[in-house]
Each structure stands twice: as C-alpha cells, then as structure tokens.
C-alpha cells in the first residue's frame, strides 16, 4: 500500500492521478485551496477504494504554513511514499504585462511556493531514504514564448530546480520526477479551442503513475512532446524571436 501526499489536489491532473492511486488502495492526504472541493474529492476517493483519506485546505503562498501541513500529512499516513505537487494557475500573460503585482503573484504560486515546499520535503524524504517527489512542471518551461512567458519562466525555474534536487537526492534513493504535460483539457484551459494535440487528464495521470513506477526522471506527457520541445529548443534565438508562438 502506497502513502501519498497530493498538493493541489483539486487540479484535474492531480485528481485523476489520485483516483489511480485510490483504486490501488493507497492512503492519501489531500491539500487544496478550496476546503469544500477538497472534502468532496476526499469522499470520492474513499468510495473508489482509498484505504484512508485525510485532507486540509491550504494556500500554497502561505509558506509559513507548509511545515505544519507536512507534519500533519506524515503523521496521518505514518510516512510518505509519494509526494505529488500539482497546484498551479495559468497566468494571463497580457494582464501580467500590465501588472507587477500580478506577475509576482503568478511567479509565487507557480514557482516559489513549489521551491518552498520542495525545500521542506527534500530532507524528510532523504531521511527516509526512499520515496518519490513528483512535480508537475510544463512543456511551457522548456522555452519562453511570447504568449505565456510568465507562466513559462515559472515552470522553467521549477524544472531547473528539480534537476539540481534530483542530483542531490539521488544518492539517498529518492526519486525526483519532473512531469511536463503539454496541452491538457482541464478547467484551467477551459477557454482554449481544443485540437488533436490535447490530452485528457486521465491520460496524463496514467503517464504520471507509470513514470513513478518506472522511477523515471523527466517525462513529457504525452510522449510526443519530447521531440517537439527538442526542436523548439534547437531553433536559434535569432529566428525564434520572429516566430509568433
């Protein structure tokens, strides 16, 4: 039986992943901003087979509250095998360009809060000498693009941070998994027209669970994004700056 802490548990990808874990009888601890919605998801996961579900409401930007939350989560489950960090907001790029406050807030939610959480989670997992820290980054972090570079740069920070953390925790036997989804059909992306490149949260969740099982380092979900983003990164800046993306 796995014990998992899921931060950002009301996100569609996190919820789909949690269902997969629940079906395998995992013990879960859910953290989300909206107490009512986290509670509803906890009931659902209990019905779907989770052996135990705890939950609490938390604003991830309240860094000082992280430590106590982690204590409660570890106590509830008696240790942690998987920590999934899945919270995020899809920044309105245009609005960010007109507001320093909004930009800073987006960077805090999507990058700094993740770093704060990982800073506190890393020594706990290192001390256990096992476990998985899985974090949802994004293909958007692979290269800054005009249409979403505030969100993209926050995810770039997360990806780079995890790369270093992986080097640090690998000797201790801890898996650090960077998850880079492409376009996912979730309430966060409700306003976009959907095409063939879009994946369902269920498909991404299946990829996350399989990557945890195989102890992968970095996964693109679905996998075709890996070559796509490689090409994207290879385009010289002199050409890239003239491309509308």
């Amino acid at each position: 039986m796995k014990r998992a802490l899921i931060i950002g548990a009301t996100s569609a990808m996190a919820e789909a992943t949690a269902r997969g874990l629940a079906q395998r009888g995992a013990a879960l601890y859910l953290v989300g901003r909206n107490a009512q919605r986290v509670a509803a998801i906890a009931s659902d996961l209990t019905t779907r087979g989770a052996s135990q579900v705890g939950y609490e409401a938390l604003d991830v930007n309240d860094f000082a509250a992280h430590e106590a939350m982690l204590d409660r989560a570890m106590r509830a489950a008696g240790g942690l095998d998987i920590v999934l960090i899945a919270h995020g907001t899809l920044s309105d790029q245009h609005a960010c360009e007109g507001s320093v406050d909004l930009t800073m807030r987006e960077l805090s939610t999507n990058a700094l809060s993740v770093v704060a959480l990982c800073t506190r989670i890393a020594p706990r997992l290192a001390m256990q000498g096992c476990g998985t820290l899985a974090v949802i980054s994004s293909v958007a972090g692979d290269r800054g693009r005009r249409s979403n570079y505030v969100y993209g740069s926050a995810k770039a920070l997360v990806s780079a941070y995890l790369s270093g953390l992986r080097q640090q925790l690998s000797p201790a036997g801890v898996q650090v998994l960077t998850i880079k989804p492409g376009f996912v059909d979730t309430p966060m992306t409700a306003a976009f027209a959907k095409g063939p490149l879009w994946a369902s949260p269920q498909r991404v969740a299946a990829g996350i669970l399989s990557a945890i099982e195989k102890r992968r380092d970095v996964v693109y979900l679905p996998g075709f994004w890996r070559p796509v983003m490689w090409i994207m990164r290879m385009i010289p800046e002199g050409i890239f700056k003239r491309v509308a993306l």
């Binding site: 009301t10 569609a12 909206n34 009512q36 919605r37 509803a40 998801i41 009931s43 659902d44 019905t47 779907r48 087979g49 309430p187 409700a190 306003a191 976009f192 027209a193 959907k194």
Partner: protein, 441 residues
C-alpha cells in the same frame, strides 16, 4: 465557465449535429454558469442519446462530465449518492465488488446518472423493477435562475416527477441518490431460446417474466411470412456466488477508428448476419455470463455507431400498450420486412405494469420494439411514416432519447401529460428535440 468557442456537437446516431456554446462545471458547488447572449441551455452528459434530445443547436450545452465524484456509498444499506456526471460503468466498478448492483441498467454503461434520470431509462428487467427513476430517492436540481432544490418523491413530488424523464428541461441535476440491490457476484445464468415466429416469441416472453428477472428478445426483422418475428429470447437471473465464467475484456477490446465512407450495415451484410445469428444458436442454450457481456454486448466495440458511416443511423423505439400490442408488433415487423430496410438491432421486450415516475417517462405496460436503421434518407422516411401510423393507431408512443424525427403531433398524442410538464420547464432551458416536437403545438 465556458469551454472555448462554439463547437460542433453530435449525438450517438450521428444524424443530428450542430454548433453549440459549451459550458462546464468544475464542482457541484459552483453556481449555474452565466450563459452569455441570452441563449437557451441544455444539460449534456455523455451524449449517448441517439437523436436531438441531448442537443440544443444554436444554443448552449452545459456539460456535466466533470461532475463525476462519488459522494457516499453505504455498503450496508445499499445506497449510493454521486454527482450527475458519474457514468454507470464507474458505479458498477465500485458497487459490484461490494455485492451490490444497480436496480436498472440500460443497454450501455456509458451513460451518466444525470442522463439516466433525464431519460428515465429502462432495462431488461422492466417487468420487475420498472425504470431507473423508480430507484432514485433524491437529487439536487440546479435551475438557471440559481435556485437549488433538493427533490424527492415525498417533499417535492411535482418537481421530482417533472425532472425524471424531463429531458433536462427543468434545469440540471447536480447529484442524485439511488437504491441498489444485492447480488452474490458479477455472474448471470442466461438461457437463450430460439423462437420460430412472433407468437412463439411473445408467448415465451410473457411466460418467462414470471421466473426470470431479465428478459429480452432479438428479432430477425428480415424474416417474412410465416417466419415473421422469429428470433432469440434471452432470459436470465443473477447467479449465486459459486458461478464463474471468463470475464470479458470490456472497454479494452475493439474500437471502430473512423466512420467508413458508406455504412457497413446494409441489406446484404444484414441478411448474412441475421441468418447466421438465428441458426448459429441451438434451440436452447444455457450459459453463465459476466454481467458486462449480458447487459452491454455493444460496449465491447468502442464507437460502434461509426459502422453506419458518415450519414449515421436512426433508432426507432416505440411502445405499444394494451391487448392490441401483439398485433401492432406484427404490423410493425411486417412493414419493416416488406420495406426490406432491415434492422441490425431489432430488440423486443415486454414492459411490465410498474408505473414510471416521470411525467414524460417513455415506458408503459406493453410491448416495446427498438430498431436501428442506417440513414438512407427518403425511403427510410417513408417507412417511418408507415410505422408512425401503426404506433399512433394503437395508442403507442416513441422514445425521445432515440429520436431525431418524430412528428410533433405523434409526440403530443403519445405523452398526454406534456401540458402538465410545461409548467415545470425552465424558460432558459430548451433542446433541439423540444423545439421540434412543440413547434406546431
């Protein structure tokens, strides 16, 4: 919230489609979304209705598929509450291992609870259990004006009766509570019996209702003359816990990847299939089957509706009440056979006399006949006209969930309580079906 720009949405039969603004929920606690432009809105589950009763072309759809959380499953009492977008397949995967079973299952498990309520669906045990709505004890109705009503037969009998079978026109159901029934396991004892003509089929069907919980018949609708109405009756009961048989692959089986340019279901393939299906069976066989195979034979082939090609298909499902039902069924099958418009799926079932809870519920005591036809345009329309006349003459009615073409007067004659129902429809809810059948009222 709105899910992107206007989108083409089509229903299961692929004959009705059109542009919709699509809205969705991220939780059941959310308010009814603000529908822009003052257009009408219709709740949309998994789109398994065959015709236009789940569409609102030119207006808005409110998707419930993200309302897919269980709320509570009481494995001692056998009650389940869940959000309206939960599909019956999910319910089965949760309750069967605990020894419970839905009281009523339609022919596909890929319908949502909200859709099952809005169409008051029925199954092979109608003669025992009545409709899906008979086992719904409570639900929440969220209306476009923002009002939330907790509905039950005791506290709000009028709204309860209007919303069950109400085609989504009273508002959106956000969650529901239902009773389940005990089972020993996932297996059924199934008997298949070949019947040489309609009389034999009807007689055996009525007789089987006494001792078998589930009865349904497949009819070879290409057979004519003295063979008219020949077919295979299946009757079944839940097996005790000791029974076992291989579990079918379920959803991981075949899929139809795209619609072929022409329908693969045509008179030549049908003649072959029907003759083979009829003669393949011995006179009587008894098997133990997993419930997936017994209840949902077509769910094993994903997107089977694509077999009918880009023009799609119609399903014609009627119910004929009373003592003249047998004769009317004979006339209907005679008209189909004479037209040579063979139907791949011709299903006959005797409904029982348990009253349906909804003002617009389809099932009533009598014989129901369901026929699938590839959409061949004018010749098929002419046949439907002849079938309509038989149904109207015998006081029967057609099933809105399957329909994309019934005339308004046939609907209104078949559903005498539609006037009463009108008092509960929300002015901001509408559907393509509703506008069509009420246009000339």
């Amino acid at each position: 919230m709105q899910r992107g720009p206007p989108r083409i949405v089509s229903s299961w039969g692929n004959v009705a489609r059109g542009e919709h603004r699509v809205y969705g929920f991220s939780s059941r606690f959310e308010d009814f979304p603000d529908i822009s432009g003052g257009c009408t809105v219709l709740p949309f589950g998994n789109g398994r209705s065959y015709g236009d009763s789940c569409l609102n072309v030119g207006g808005a759809l409110l998707e419930t598929r993200t309302l897919d959380r269980f709320i509570r499953f009481d494995a001692d009492q056998g009650t389940l509450s869940c959000e309206a977008g939960v599909q019956l397949a999910d319910i089965l995967s949760v309750v069967v291992p605990a020894g419970w079973f839905p009281c009523v299952l339609p022919g596909t498990q890929y319908v949502t609870v909200g859709g099952a309520i809005a169409n008051d669906v029925h199954g092979k045990n109608h003669h025992r259990a009545g409709t899906f709505g008979c086992h719904v004890t409570r639900f929440e109705l969220l209306r476009p004006d923002g009002e939330r009503m907790s509905c039950s037969a005791e506290e709000t009998p009028d709204w309860f009766a209007a919303t069950i079978g109400g085609l989504g026109l009273t508002g959106v159901v956000t969650w529901a509570q239902m009773r389940l029934r005990r089972v020993a396991g996932p297996w059924l004892d199934v008997e298949s019996i070949r019947c040489a003509d309609l009389d034999e089929l009807l007689e055996l069907s009525i007789e089987s209702a006494k001792d078998f919980e589930y009865t349904v018949a497949w009819v070879d609708c290409l057979a004519r003359g003295r063979r008219l109405g020949r077919g295979i009756l299946q009757r079944a009961n839940h097996a005790d816990g000791a029974a076992s048989a291989p579990r079918p692959a379920g959803g991981t089986g075949f899929a139809v990847p795209f619609a072929p340019p022409v329908s693969l279901v045509n008179s030549a393939t049908l003649r072959l299939f029907n003759a083979a299906h009829y003669h393949r069976r011995r006179l009587r066989t008894r098997t133990v089957q997993h419930f997936q195979r017994f209840f949902f034979p077509l769910d094993g082939i994903r997107h089977w509706n694509r077999l009918y090609g880009p023009r799609g298909f119609h399903q014609y499902q009627c119910v004929i009440p009373g003592s003249g039902a047998g004769e009317a069924a004979r006339s209907l099958l005679g008209a189909v056979a004479a037209a040579g418009e063979g139907s791949f799926l011709a299903i006959l079932k005797c409904f029982g006399d348990r009253a349906s809870p909804g003002l617009l519920s389809f099932p009533q005591s009598g014989i129901t006949l369901a026929l699938d036809f590839p959409n061949r345009g004018a010749p098929l329309a002419a046949l439907f006209g002849r079938l309509d006349a038989i149904v109207a003459q015998s006081g029967g009615r057609l099933y809105p969930a399957k329909d994309a073409r019934m005339p308004g007067d046939l609907f209104r004659a078949g559903y005498p309580r539609h006037g009463e129902f009108l008092r509960f429809t929300n002015p901001r809810c509408s559907s393509s079906f509703w506008r069509r059948v009420m246009a000339d009222a």
